[in-house]
Structure formats: structure tokens, C-alpha cells
Subunit: 458 residues, 2 copies
């Protein structure tokens, strides 16, 4: 990166010269505070999940796990899946290095590059696109994941095996399977899969979109966006400190979710355990798997369904979110309890019963989904629904059996179509203190910079 | 609307019965306060434009003008254009009555209907869809407009005139013209025009989407959604109390906008004046025209353009937003000022010069646009841009000449494509104190309820 040009080169002799040259720290004073807290030395190892983010707040980027998983679910999401256009392992590593640095910067309220959107060499493009320049960090987290195709390529339609472009085939983690076809799936390939995924969550959508845009820009020539999803309202609480939000069926969603405070449950259901160091997935220890399902809701039909029917389909009350077996929101459902007619109060084919851990050998997942509304179809119906995101320790035990049963038996499915799908291995975090920083103390990319997923390439 | 059913009909004998029956005032105590302030008697006639909304705040629904025009621009937008599927004038009026009541309720933090999402007859669909049940009103405003096709139908491709379905052809306001084709227009009919438009703005996108969804639901059988646009970041300030936001080119946008505090400028440039009561547009006095243009930006190309070039194209600095002729953000541009090479500091073909009132007989507009990001194209480029919204007194003098010049000469156009377009007549507001309220003091629809656009049908 070359030094700022001489002020004499300016087309104007006014104060505009000054502002153009100043490094725009995106979040001002607060961002600077975030940098001090977020980088370098001596913080606790695990991210502090229960710390609520204010609009101006930051979450640490480094830690044992990537941020954006147990982080209290922010209000907005922008997620992008990328396809690699390179076949060079070195270029892939370089991309991950660049991405890691940019993510470390943006999440701490800094601009994508050291000059920011309005300074630096006047005859070069700015190193940040600028639309978030005056916005606070808004609790931004950026979480990276790897798709199966990055390891083994994409099989041909005739079943010919895909290509091991990066020499990673023997590191394919066991859980990164091809998802089976589920009943009633209507998947659009243009909204599914991808070599890489980047989940950006923030309390301001412009901050999340800015992050994806700048990462996409840094991928120019190496990877290209395959699909994206904007989520405007979270549908899960991931911390006991958060009020349960509502999905587009108007029901509270996330009540029985795995919460950041349940450290035992996180070990058991979310984090990939450290096991046999010879195993192909040893590099994934401390990571997780991300399941993404774009689920379109027939909201116009739903909206003509009686309150009784709606509650029976879900198995909970609409107002309070209590199980139909009684109690309040956080009362455990009593699936055995019967009503006056001898039928179970929580219907046998209700969503909550079929999704409940007791139906699946105790398996739970950390849901972190978002509502979406992507325009309308030619009949005037909203293309809206739930962008289901869940982090699990192993999709083979913690997701596929649940989805198989729901797709087949859940009465809610009558109102749902799965239109997009992705499964990604989510590496552990970049360790605290590992980032390389430049003269101004902010992260820079060098050949020594650590990167998300580094264990995979070791 | 029938009365709530007997609690004995409940499938469960638990407390869920109670919460289901309680009328869920959407905003709790604050919403109730909003009702008191927003409805009925004795407030000042004009909406109080400079009152900043908090997340929990409400803006009055009634007043001389509709809210959502000079209201300080909220952070998020959901806009929907509708086509009427009825040809009955009575049904159209009924729809506008229902919409007016629902809008009056929702903007004050109430549910769409008197029972709310989780109470009312258990065997009927709830009268509110519920996803905003726990959210504050978030400064929601709802603004209605009428498209040319509502008056004169849609001309056939062979030029055959459209149909006057509602007996409104002789009330077509003079300014509600067919927009000409502008150079470089690439309009998608599926993103353009419409008989009716509803602009919902709020500081929470879920609140804005909830509003459109419930209005769309109330239109079932009468009108159907033609197109929608989600805007996630505002690109204009409409009050001197607001900091200027940034568009996706990273530039401050809205600096020289007409602001709510400029009451003379509003009369001169935004509100349709009361003139000849015989004129076809007399009913529109106190209203405005809304121009909507979906402008896709080539952001990947832009992001490879030098800072110098970017600033020259716009005519302002990127950091501070000062004119290139010098000064700070709110300094008036000096188009005559030349640099050392004798060329004007603000280029002749820069956006700011070509859009400036001095280039257009003093014409100004109240811009109220939003950034959008609607996925990506098959090349991996973001389908992102600026959803340009402007309110003007007369599009023939205040918009068309400006757009004609920009489309032809503005160097910024190299990075822009207009992909959607709409022009709507925006009626004045429902007068203070005119709403009909039910037993609980909240607005209800009766045959006497006032409605937005009532003057048109008088
Ligand atoms: C649009 C689709 C969906 C809707 C509207 C929906 C809605 C709900 C609701 C309202 C609850 C109860 C509140 C709570 O505990 O969060 C719930 C619980 C749950 N859902 Fe879903 N859900 C959807 C899709 C899925 C999918 C695809 C899965 C996984 C394959 C899933 C797994 C679960 C689980 C595990 C629970 C918690 C059950 C318990 O422990 O009680 N959901 N869902
Ligand atoms: C994506 C498209 C556009 C971009 C990126 C853009 C950007 C800008 C920027 C950065 C400014 C300077 C700051 C300000 O005063 O707000 C500005 C001013 C302005 N723009 Fe645009 N604009 C766009 C489209 C339009 C269109 C379609 C119109 C109207 C036909 C328009 C009319 C104006 C006007 C009237 C001004 C104020 C000029 C003045 O009084 O100094 N713009 N625009």
C-alpha cells in the first residue's frame, strides 16, 4: 500500500483536502475503544457471549470459537456464499488471510483498510467503500465457513466425482456430508451450497451489507458471490438475556434454543470436540457446523388459518409462547398430558413435539435464524419466510434426523417450502493475541498473519 | 367482528387461555400513550416534523399532510405497489377506509385489528399477523398514493386507451403524467407502476414489513401486490436535526435536501397548492407527488474507481461531503470557481451541478430514498443500489426536467441503471379529530370513517 499523496495534488485547496486524508476510524471514539479491548493481549479466552451489544458496541473477533455463534443474536443478517474461481491453494490461503484481517478490522469498528473510505492515494480506489463510515460498529460479527465443494468439488450430474482443487479432500470432515433430499424440498441451486460462506450479523443492516461488500471486493479474482440472503429480523434468542423474538407466523421463536449460558449444552451440541488428532476433522475442533435453509412460508394461507389451528400446528400458544400442555413460556412441554377428550394437549404431529430433543435422542441445536422478505411472486404473494440457521456439533446426529422427521410428519410443513440449502464446516476462532498489527496498532495482512481455518492448511 | 369465545372452549385449562384473550396492545404502555397523543382532539394541524422518533416513538397519523413525507426519514423502508383486482368503486372506497383505519392503528403502536394477534374468536384467524407483537412502534409511518392507472387504466401496447374502471378519469391530476422514457432507462414492468402505492417507513424493518403484510391482507380480493421494495438504509436526511446518511457509493446523500424545517420551500416545492377548485387536481391540494426510481448501481465497477474520479463525478468530497469548490458540508457550491488549470473545481458534468436548483429554474425536491440490496446476479455482482424516492409539487417542473438532464449528461450515469419506476399522486392527510373510534377509543372502520384520498371521491 503506497503512502498518501502529497496534499498539493488535490484538485481543491480547501478543507476537503484534510478530511480526505484523515483515516476515518469508522466508529470514532467507541471504535477505538473496541480496538483496545478486542486485539492483542490478555483477554479471557472465550468470547463473552452474554455481553449485550449496544448499537455502538463491539464483540471481540478473536477467541477459541468464532464470534457470531453464541454471540447474542443481532437484529440483522447478511449472509453470502462464495464460489472459488481460483484453483490455487496459495490464493485460497491468501484470500482467507485478507478476509481475516478485514473481518478483525470491521468488527472492531475500523475501516476495511488502513486509509478508510476517503483518504489514501488520491488516484487509487479507496480501501473501504464508505457507506458505513459514520455508523457505529453495531455489534458486527463475521463468521466464516467451508462448504463440502471446497474439499471435494462438485459431482457432475452423471455422478462423476468432483475435483480436489486444493488438495483438501483427505481433510474433509466426516460431518460435512451431502445433505439428503428431504420430503417437500424444492431447492434452487442458485440459492444453495457454495465453497465458502460468510455470515455477517449486526444491529444495523447497512453495517452487515458493508462487511459482505468489502469482503467480496477483497475476493475479486479469487472468489465470487454465489448467493446472498438478507435477514431483517432475528428469529432466535441465543442468550437468556434476550427477549424471545417472533417469526413471520407470529410465534415466539427460540424459546427452547440452546443458550450461550448453557456451557455444557454448547460442548455437547454445538462445538466439534477435540478427538483423535489423526481424524480428518481434527482441524475442526472448537468449530461447528452451520446448516442454512431458506424456508419460504405461505404466509397468505397461514393468515387465513384460525388461531386454534395455528397453535395446534406449533404446539404452543401464540401470545405467550407457552406449551399447550400449560404453564408459561419457559415451562417444559408435557407431551403426555391429555385434554378432556383424551387427546394429547400438544398434538402428536405438532412442530414442537417433533422437533423436541426427547424425539431425537436428546439432540439439540443452536438456532440463529432470521426472517426474510425478498419481494413477491407473480401472484402478488410475498416471497417471505424464515432463513433457518443452526449451529450443530454434527449434522448427522443433530440436524438430518430432525429435518427428515419434520419434512415428513410436521403439520407445519403444509405452510412451508425449503427453497435453499447449505451446509458448512465452521472452523474455530483465531486465538487471542495472534493477529498481526501494523504501526497504528490495527490488524494488517502479512505472510505471517493468522487466518480463520488455518488448522486445515497446516 | 364476533365477540371472543368462551374460555371453556379452550383446548387447555392453563394460563395460555388468558394471554390469548388479552388484547395485545403492540407497544405496551408507550403505545397506549401514542394513542392518546395521536388520535382525536385538539392537536396542532400539521404533523410535527422535527420531533425525532425513538424506537418506541410514534408519529401522529392525522394532519394536514400525510406522515412519511416531512417526517424525519426513518432508517428502514418497505414499499409496495398494488394493482386493483376489483372494478367496483365502492370496493375501492371500502379498501381505502380499511387501510386508513389499519394505518392509523399500526402507526400508533396498536395491532391491525381490535383483538390483536393472539386473542379474539379462537376459530377465526387473528386480526393481526403478530410478528410485531413485542416490538415498539419504531416511528412507523404509512403513506398512500394513487397511480395514473387507477384513473385511466393502462393503455394497450398498441396505444389503445386504458379503461376508466372507477369513474375517476376526469379527476386525473395534471401532474400524474406518463413518465417519458429517459436515456439509459432499463425498466422492468414487474418493478414499475401500479394502481396504488403504500410506503411504510420505520426504524425497525420488521415493523415496516408487518404493516405492508397486514395491509395486503386487508386488500385480499380487492387489490394484490404488484411489486415491493425493501430499503435497509436511508439515503436522505429530511430534517436539520438528522445527520446526513450515506448511499452505496459511500457519499453523504441528502445534504442539500429540502428539510422539514424549511416551511417556505415545502410550500414551493413539495405540497400541491390549493388552486382553482374546478381543476381536476383540486382534490390533491395539500398532497404531493411521489416519484420512485429503483436505480441499480454498478458498485463493483465503482469500487475500482479512484477517489479522485469518484469525487469529481459527484462534485463533493467523499469524507465530509463538502462541495469541491471548498468549505464544509453545508457550504453552497460555487460552480464558477476554477482551479489552477482554469477548469471549474466542480466539473460541468458532475452530478451535483446538473442536479442543482440553479440548473433547473430553482426547482428542488424532497428526497427520501433508501439503499437496497436484493441478492446478486449470475455473475456474482450485487443487485444493489439506491431506491430513489422524492416528493415534489409537480413532476413536470420538479422531476422530469432534472431526470432528463441527469440521464443524458450526468457522468454518474455510467455507474447507474434505472430498473424500476413509479409516479403516484399522494393525497393530503386525514384531518385531526376525524377518525372514528370504537368503545376502546381506538380507530375502527365504519361507513362514516374518513379515509386517505376521500376528497377524490367526493
Ligand atoms: C419456517 C420454519 C419454522 C418455523 C416457523 C418454526 C417455528 C418454531 C417455533 C414457533 C418453535 C417454538 C419456540 C421455540 O422453542 O423456539 C420452534 C421450536 C423448534 N424448532 Fe422450529 N420452526 C421452523 C423450522 C424448523 C426447522 C427446519 C428445524 C430443524 C430442522 C426446527 C427445529 C426446532 C427445534 C429444535 C425447536 C425446539 C423444540 C423444543 O426443544 O421444544 N424448526 N420452531
Ligand atoms: C444512484 C443514484 C444517485 C446517487 C448515488 C446520487 C448521489 C447524490 C449525492 C452524493 C448528492 C450530494 C449530496 C446532497 O446534496 O444530497 C446528490 C445531490 C442531489 N441529487 Fe442525487 N444521486 C442519485 C440520483 C439522483 C436522481 C435520480 C435525482 C433526481 C432526478 C437526484 C437529484 C439530486 C439533487 C436535486 C441533489 C441536490 C443538488 C443540490 O442542490 O446541490 N439524484 N445526489
Amino acid at each position: 500500500m503506497s503512502a498518501p499523496t502529497d496534499p498539493q495534488d488535490e484538485p481543491t485547496a480547501t478543507s476537503s483536502g484534510m478530511s480526505r486524508r484523515a483515516v476515518l476510524g469508522l466508529g470514532g471514539g467507541l471504535a477505538a475503544a473496541g480496538v483496545v479491548a478486542g486485539f492483542g493481549l490478555g483477554r479471557a479466552t472465550a468470547p463473552a457471549p452474554a455481553v449485550a451489544s449496544t448499537a455502538a458496541g463491539t464483540y471481540p473477533f478473536t477467541g477459541a470459537h468464532q464470534a457470531g455463534i453464541v454471540t447474542p443474536a443481532q437484529d440483522r443478517l447478511y449472509l453470502a456464499a462464495f464460489d472459488l474461481t481460483t484453483t490455487s491453494r496459495d490464493e485460497l490461503v491468501e484470500l482467507l488471510r485478507r478476509w481475516t484481517t478485514i473481518a478483525a478490522r470491521l468488527t472492531q469498528g475500523l475501516s476495511a483498510g488502513p486509509f478508510g473510505p476517503a483518504s489514501g492515494p488520491y488516484d487509487a480506489p479507496p480501501d473501504d467503500t464508505g457507506e458505513a463510515a459514520d455508523l457505529p460498529p453495531a455489534g458486527l460479527t463475521i463468521t466464516f465457513g467451508f462448504g463440502r465443494s471446497m474439499f471435494v468439488g462438485t459431482p457432475g450430474p452423471d455422478g462423476t466425482p468432483g475435483e480436489d482443487r486444493f488438495g483438501l479432500a483427505d481433510r474433509l470432515p466426516d460431518g460435512l456430508v451431502e445433505l439428503p433430499h428431504f420430503a417437500a424440498d424444492d431447492l434452487d441451486p442458485a440459492r444453495s451450497d457454495g465453497d465458502l460462506v460468510v455470515q455477517a450479523c449486526a444491529d444495523d443492516p447497512q453495517v452487515a451489507v458493508h462487511a459482505i461488500r468489502n469482503l467480496s471486493r477483497a475476493a475479486f479474482g479469487t472468489a465470487t458471490i454465489r448467493w446472498t440472503q438478507l435477514g431483517y429480523g432475528r428469529t432466535s434468542s441465543t442468550s437468556t438475556a434476550q427477549k424471545t423474538p417472533r417469526n413471520l407466523f407470529g410465534f415466539k421463536d427460540g424459546t427452547a434454543n440452546v443458550k450461550a449460558e448453557e456451557s455444557d449444552a454448547l460442548e455437547e451440541h454445538v462445538w466439534v470436540p477435540a478427538t483423535d488428532t489423526e481424524a480428518s476433522s481434527a482441524w475442526l475442533a472448537g468449530g461447528s457446523y452451520l446448516v442454512a435453509r431458506r424456508i419460504r412460508m405461505r404466509i397468505e394461507t397461514w393468515d387465513r388459518t384460525s388461531l386454534r389451528e395455528q397453535e395446534n400446528l406449533v404446539g404452543r400458544t401464540k401470545g405467550e409462547g407457552a406449551p399447550l400442555s400449560g404453564g408459561t413460556e419457559f415451562t417444559e412441554p408435557d407431551f403426555a398430558k391429555e385434554g378432556r377428550d383424551g387427546a394429547p394437549l400438544i398434538a402428536v404431529d405438532s412442530h414442537v413435539r417433533l422437533a423436541h430433543p426427547s424425539t431425537h435422542d436428546g439432540a439439540r441445536m443452536l438456532r440463529r435464524g432470521y426472517n426474510f422478505t425478498d419481494g413477491n411472486d407473480s401472484l402478488g404473494r410475498l416471497d417471505a419466510g424464515l432463513f433457518f440457521l443452526a449451529f450443530v456439533r454434527d449434522p448427522r446426529t443433530h440436524y438430518i434426523p430432525v429435518q427428515s422427521m419434520l419434512s415428513r410428519d410436521d403439520v407445519l410443513m403444509e405452510y412451508l417450502t425449503h427453497t435453499g440449502s447449505g451446509l458448512f464446516a465452521v472452523p474455530p476462532g483465531v486465538p487471542d493475541g495472534a493477529l498481526v498489527t501494523g504501526e497504528d496498532g490495527t490488524p494488517v495482512t502479512t505472510e505471517k498473519s493468522p487466518f480463520v481455518g488455518q488448522q486445515l492448511f497446516a
